[in-house]
Assembly symmetry: none
């Protein structure tokens, strides 16, 4: 059963995308693996204090990406191939870094300053 203990809701971005992102990042980190069971919509929605529809939407979109599979009964599982991991990893890493880079550039911050800033704020 995959865990949501490190999940923290932010506002600004929709909750369902936050759920999707949390799961994808877990996949990349290796904390969420192929065949892991995922909590039911009801369980997760009460755990996160959000509407069941919100969870359902996140799950549906992950299903459409073939990252979740519903099997007999109510249980659902992750279905993650190595190819998918690599793809998601590449996508997320790049988009994450690009966000920083374009922002820093628009603010006139040099690469060196950016490195320093990360060094300072990283834990």
């Amino acid at each position: 059963m995959i865990s949501f203990e490190h999940f923290k809701m932010e506002d600004g971005s929709p909750i369902y995308t936050q759920i999707i992102l949390y799961i994808k990042r877990g996949i990349i980190a290796g904390t969420i693996r192929d065949q892991d069971e995922i909590p039911s919509r009801r369980v997760l929605s009460s755990l996160l204090g959000v509407n069941p529809n919100t969870v359902q939407k996140a799950y549906r979109m992950l299903e459409e990406e073939n990252l979740i599979e519903s099997r007999s009964g109510a249980k659902s599982f992750m279905t993650v191939s190595q190819i998918q991991v690599d793809l998601i990893r590449a996508q997320l890493l790049e988009s994450n870094a690009r966000n920083l880079i374009t922002g820093m550039k628009q603010m006139g911050i040099s690469k060196e300053e950016a490195h320093k800033l990360i060094e300072k704020l990283w834990d």
Copy 2:
């Protein structure tokens, strides 16, 4: 008159926030300065191809932050004190870097890998 030549619309976030962010980043970069004239909502809206109200919303929110001064019938100007610049700079830099850091951490990426990635993608 402040320039919007480098403004690029993305989707995902509201247009008015993109305008606000563009201006704030310009302030930090030093390309937008105190007492600079800002384009009228008509001018900017036609320039960006958006509705005048969208521009107005961005301007009004900047006015609420005391970054813009506008009077009915007259041109509008930036009113940016050094204190504001410093504050905005700190806020934007930190949030920008934090986004990267928390994302990378959740993905199990080490600080060193993050630095490498930025090095690779910068430029």
Copy 3:
């Protein structure tokens, strides 16, 4: 659900300010309380015969004063602390009385005459 049955539109001042003022006065009067549900913009706009956007503007400004809490898709509620009540009460009472006083003074009306006039017109 807070009621707008006593709301009367005047002209001269923007509708959205009239809505704001009506709600603030209701807070002071105690007829609008913390956690009261507020009508949706659709409901109120059709009730008052104004555009939904006009209602939304009033609501948004009240939200910026932390008097309303709203989340997308959910109902909105008043969030009124006693401190806020006291503050608004002081502000509105004083401005209301000052308007009369400065007007009367400019017209050369004495305090006693003003009292008499109010006595005559009250009810």
Copy 4:
């Protein structure tokens, strides 16, 4: 020549209405009388620091109420009959008092409290 030394611009209501109101209150107070000369648009606009058009608009509306008369040359004069004074007095006094009363009532303030408040704030 009628004096504008006690004129104070507020924001919230249009400037031209403030000018009109100032003159009407002066009429009631007796400080502005029939046949008094009024400053030219140019003079008053520079005195108040507003646009000549704004002054012109105020004057035009007062002319439409037959309170101002343009005579030979550029000079204009007040033309105020006792009937007009009485009418304006009644209108302004009542509207001024009614504003306070309806406001106070909506805030759940009793007549006695209103009297006390005026007593406290009057000079």
